[in-house]
Symmetry: C2
């Protein structure tokens, strides 16, 4: 593990490698080459090698990388070993889906509980997690030292929820509301922008259909 200042682009691909490596069957060969990974994931082999080199140098010519070591290194660099407790504000369909999703623990995240302004939603979910009134957010975040929050409320309420989160000591926000949030500069906002995702699909589609016509 050597990690120093990984670029955003690399940081976004590393989890993909990790996911792929974890998905390999138990009886797969002990070692894997960058070439193989590249083919499987549809990337360039040089890029894979460069990305992996930014994490560790344990590839051997003609042999490749030892899968188990690579997984360990990636987990270490990505911080998947330390558990990050996270809360969700908004217990609608999306909020509940995120709260219930088991897969986050594979990434070192633990969705602790959700908060909603509608107090009738208060209580335990099917999966045994608590939904609390929004009024308790600050108190509970401080208590549990929560540093990560998810915003799953409609756009109109997103900024005020965001402000409340910042006040509660949250440092990183995963925002699902389709709106730009204003935050102090030490707070990170990552926008999960559906519009952005959809545009990529739609513009690909337009290209495809145009090509067929011409």
């Amino acid at each position: 593990m050597k990690q120093n200042s990984l670029s955003k682009a690399v940081l976004e691909r590393l989890p993909v490698y990790l996911q792929y490596l974890r998905s390999l069957p138990a009886n797969a060969p002990e070692n894997i080459s960058a070439t193989t990974i590249a083919n499987e994931l549809g990337l360039g082999e040089v890029q894979v090698r460069k990305d992996l080199a930014s994490v560790c140098n344990l590839g051997r010519p003609r042999i490749g990388y030892m899968v188990s070591c690579l997984i360990n290194e990636l987990e270490a660099v990505l911080g998947y070993n330390k558990i990050n407790d996270t809360i969700i504000v908004g217990a609608g369909k999306l909020g509940k889906a995120l709260l219930a999703y088991e897969g986050f623990k594979n990434y070192g995240f633990n969705m602790v509980s959700a908060f909603d302004i509608d107090e009738s939603k208060t209580g335990l979910t099917e999966t045994g997690k608590n939904i609390y009134p929004l009024s308790e957010l600050k108190k509970r975040c401080k208590e549990m030292q929560i540093k990560i929050g998810v915003i799953a409320v409609p756009a109109e309420q997103a900024q005020s929820v965001c402000d409340l989160m910042v006040e509660s000591g949250i440092l990183a926000i995963w925002n699902f509301a389709p709106i730009h949030l204003n935050v102090p500069k030490n707070i990170l906002v990552h926008n999960e922008n559906m519009a952005t995702s959809l545009v990529l699909l739609s513009s690909h589609l337009t290209e495809q259909l145009n090509e067929r016509q011409s």
Copy 2:
């Protein structure tokens, strides 16, 4: 509107501008400057100007851009006027949330119906949309000429669902399963990778906490 080969980076920011412009109150000034947009969205003003220039050249010095025109141009370039009918495979929490979400129509998308291998889920949702057995996917896609599909099933089933979609004539796939999909090269897969999003949050957090210590 001039659109020719917009870069991915630009394509990802355009919806953000559109979203922001639409959110302006009705009594806001008729024109807006790149400087203002940049400040509101936390971007560089030159970047905003360049991005907008890639769509149209209707900014006037000292005046700025006419909001309504800009919205029209952006909608045209992004293809938000043609409605893209879309189906979802997987009617679990996530699938249902996506099916119910009203906001997609703002982006020119219409979530038509969902499909699930579990036939007990078949029927109408609260919002009046149909859930069908997966076995009907191909027939219904062909009938309705669906070109876009959403994968909201567990990783293990994602590849087979994907194959089925391709067979059904779908050209663009929005994949929520944490796995790389193999597809023919004319099919676009956009991965909504939670791991990737989370990594960015988590690595920011690590940096923040390290800074405080030193």
